[in-house]
Symmetry: C2
Subunit: 204 residues, 2 copies
Amino acid sequence: MPKISKNSEGLSKKEEILNAAIILFAEQGFSNTSITEVAKATNASTANVFYHFKTKEELFLAALQNVKEGIISHFDEYFRDREFENGLKMMEEIIAYYLYLAGAMGQWFLLLHSHYPYRLALVNEVCREHLEKTYNSLVEIFEKAVVKGKEDGSIADVDSRKTALVIFSMIEGVVRFKIYNLYDSGVLFAELIKSCNKILKYKE
Amino acid sequence: MPKISKNSEGLSKKEEILNAAIILFAEQGFSNTSITEVAKATNASTANVFYHFKTKEELFLAALQNVKEGIISHFDEYFRDREFENGLKMMEEIIAYYLYLAGAMGQWFLLLHSHYPYRLALVNEVCREHLEKTYNSLVEIFEKAVVKGKEDGSIADVDSRKTALVIFSMIEGVVRFKIYNLYDSGVLFAELIKSCNKILKYKE
DNA sequence: TTAAATACTGACTGACTAATCAGTTTTGTA
DNA sequence: TACAAAACTGATTAGTCAGTCAGTATTTAA
């Protein structure tokens, strides 16, 4: 049974390389990030990077998987032992956490907002599965809040899935403005919550 | 006075190269598109591409400028000789046209949604100006509809600028889902209009 | 202690890249 | 026609890239 050696921060070299790759792929894109760069950032040789990850594409897929698992586990952690007043409040708090996470873990969302994985997904099933799983998990979270709100009466009788999708796309739009430095999400946050409330409280 | 020769489609070689560059940069990204590729797509030599555009970056900036001017002139054309029943209807029709344009001119929006120009904007003033001008023009269009609606009473007393920004980010979110093949904007369109109406019609 | 598995490295390769330049062809005009 | 400007090309360069490989160092389990 191989024991994996860890460095001072408790990470194996493989994990170190993976973390550096996430940041570099997110900030510079896939094509504009060389394996040499990843190697330098982790004091490894390029050959060592290729020892842990057969190809550059495989390294990218591992990065995407890591982001997927990170987002999902962060939300799992967030929901553990947490109660919400009602569905509407739950939605509000989920949005706040989503925007917090997009700020704290900017690399994850930058990677998810880059074009490359979506092009790769057209020809690579593993990539497609990572993306689908990530987005399904996220939309599901918003949908749960809508369903809960419809049950407790805090949310009007709307189509749960479609409403969740529209709210999700609204938030993703704001996240994009934030990570691309277009508009500050802080300023938009209050307005976002107001708009969201209107969408959920009123029946057309 | 130099007369620019045009090919069978009425485009000069320079324009041909520029159009090919927009498509290739949009679909494959800046780093992953080589000048050789652009040259091959237009039956030109690489040296000829560099004759018309001093550097690869300059070609990209020309592409971004072209996209900016394309979007602005398309909206100018759309508004020419067009009357709207009221501000709310105007907003609805603008959204419909925005989504139509994002489908018809997918390359433009792909280029605007790629990460590269926003990184370049941090160090290149021309790039920053193109992006700012593009987004300001777009948000302004949505804002005009809100202002008009507030005047004619079809829209409640909301903050025009902030509401325009939230609606814009919502639409940009849907556009992103569309161009990245995540969710079909056709399905979301009706829901988008409904949500937009609620945001605009009700006072919190 | 030892042997095997794992982790890692330096040196290398062939393909590709942005950009240059000297020289040729095409075009517009006087 | 003549000539100058503009448009264009082939050949080249210096550098970067992903990926390989033969061999070395380290770790693990017996």
